[in-house]
Symmetry: C2
Subunit: 373 residues, 2 copies
């Protein structure tokens, strides 16, 4: 049996939204799903126990970071990433591509791969489709991502075309080098910049390689939200309906709703955890900077309707105090809340799809969001 299988449960009758299940070697998870990011082998400030309690299913690991530290050999020696970090649910690893391209002057791209210098010690390193597969196979993640180039924004048509075609060639090399058997599944990543014909070309070429799932890459990289939605509307319907679709690096509520509307099943983003550590929390009506003075004597929870550990036990005033006093518990509590908020938001969307009221859900959400501006 294939390592990764998607089961479509319910298709929205008015939009592309769909509810499904993702079967992985470490469990079956409801989609649409938000996946917390665990860059260096830990979702920042969280324990695996807390992640389970909030209902997290799949978390991310970053190949670039784990490759440099502690090294994939060490992780393999520990029995793989699941065992190393004590997480028995799903893990998806990215390919390392996005991080090395982000290094700017510190990296050089050739057809063979990407030479770069480690941000940790300046040492010379090299990642290629083959190397990325080797590393991700050592990590043992359930879902392995193909090594791609994320087309920057803005990009000239010619560059975007050449880059997208190289991503296809690299995807072929990944497929060749990858042997995950029934333990790991390899996803292809659609590129194409903001050019519809290149997006179509990328989809066509990758689908011909028959991956068990597809990511839409190169979005949320600086373009406007309407442009991102346009690209999604154009791209997602071309992907096979029997395979999961993953929108990389997107995690604000408004974008999640639109992503689901166009038929995306999986999302990840550092946004909820990163802003949490700065004292910002997410609610249905927008963000709250809980460390602000206005909350000093506010003895209500962050959100009275939220069921997370933080909201069940602590007040805004206490969390604000913890941030002022620079106590670790403060950012733990905001991180728990933000992740729970997004996970619950996805569960609510799924329920709406199952009950065929997703359009109303989206309208309600947008009304509340607008109201708060």
């Amino acid at each position: 049996m294939a390592a990764i299988q998607y089961e479509l449960i319910k298709q929205c009758s008015h939009t592309g939204a769909r509810a499904g299940r993702l079967h992985t070697p470490h469990g079956t998870f409801d989609t649409p799903i938000f996946m917390p990011v665990g860059t260096q082998g830990t979702v920042k400030a969280m324990s695996p126990h807390e992640l389970k309690e909030m209902g997290a299913g799949i978390i991310l690991g970053n190949t670039y970071h784990l490759f440099l530290r502690p090294g994939h050999d060490l992780v393999a020696e520990a029995g793989g990433l699941h065992s190393f970090i004590n997480w028995d649910r799903g893990i998806l690893t990215d390919s390392g591509g996005f991080q090395v391209f982000s290094l700017g002057d510190l990296r050089k791209i050739t057809e063979e791969g990407v030479a770069f210098r480690s941000h940790l010690d300046g040492s010379k390193q090299f990642l290629s489709p083959e190397k990325s597969m080797e590393v991700q196979m050592a990590l043992g993640s359930d879902i392995v991502m193909a090594f791609d180039e994320c087309v920057p924004y803005p990009a000239e048509y010619d560059y975007a075309k050449q880059s997208t075609e190289r991503t296809t060639r690299w995807a072929e090399r990944c497929r060749e080098a990858f042997c995950g058997g029934n333990r790991q599944g390899l996803f292809g990543i659609v590129q194409g910049g903001m050019y519809k014909d290149l997006r179509s070309q990328s989809v066509r070429e990758l689908v011909s390689l028959d991956f068990p799932g597809y990511a839409v890459g190169g979005l949320s990289v600086g373009e406007s939200k309407p442009l991102m939605y346009e690209m999604l509307e154009h791209t997602v319907p071309q992907l096979p309906s029997g395979k999961p679709r993953y929108l990389m690096g997107v995690g604000t509520p408004d974008c999640l709703v639109e992503g689901v509307l166009y038929g995306i099943d999986m999302f990840d983003c550092v946004f909820p955890t990163r802003v949490a550590r700065n004292g910002t929390v997410m609610t249905h009506t927008g963000r709250l900077v809980v460390k602000n003075a206005e909350f000093a004597r506010d003895f209500r929870p962050i959100d009275e309707h939220c069921g997370c550990y933080t909201c069940r036990n602590f007040t805004r005033a206490y969390i604000r105090h913890l941030f002022k006093a620079e106590e670790i518990l403060g950012l733990r509590l905001t991180t728990i809340h933000n992740l729970y908020f997004l996970l619950q938001f996805m569960r609510d969307m799924r329920q709406a799809i199952l009950e065929d009221r997703f359009v109303a859900f989206r309208d309600n959400f947008r009304a509340g969001y607008e109201l708060a501006r």
Copy 2:
């Protein structure tokens, strides 16, 4: 009924060690007990849930810190410290004395009290016996400590005598200002420096004020361990056996064993949590710097016999990785381990006392500790 009552369960037949129970308005706790320190309204890096899971009974709060931030008025408005920090077990607050005296040039001591400048914003502040009582009553801790002066080490006899006598006068003023009813109990603090006659004088004077419990202060302030033990041997037996005895600021295993041996029931110290945040963990045979390179591929738990969340779930190699990557989970895991280690160490001592084998327990412990040097 008095807020704080001590129940003697078993007296060791060969030493001063004793097993008992401490009854407080927020529950009954087995003694001898180690109390984790929650300086600013949180035991650093821990949640109340985790503290309960490891079996913590009473935690400390610091009057000096909470007085300055968020302020005792705000805490009172939140319903008291228990409610503010969501902790329904015991809380002991110190008097603020030790912290203000530690400010050095920033404070001035008079008979009335101590004028000082806040370490946060340089603002002028004043603490006195009456003010300390007002603050601690607003905080609503189960156990309130008298406002004392900790005699520095070394100190001339004359200074130590004057200071100790002032501590008695301040204790009288505290007793006068304090009205905890059946909600809070006020402990006196024995001083006297390293002078036995002053220690005896201090005990005599404080016991005449009839507090529901007594602390031994001014130890572990720079003197040698043998000198500290000598002072304990001299002082503790003079305290009434029907009241709890609290040795302030002591929390290394060797000192805990000796403290218990001389008849101490309660301990607190920032040591286990502070060293944990630096990557040092405690074991029966001494300390381990888990962030060191030697543990990079050590896939054993910190301590194979330990029942804490950390040891049940994570390896030294993973914890070492978390410290190298500066991930918060690393210091959370070492903090959990160190606190659990000390709480369990106290439970083991108590069991040994109950079974009248405390002397053997101490000998065993010392042999293991010596061996590890």
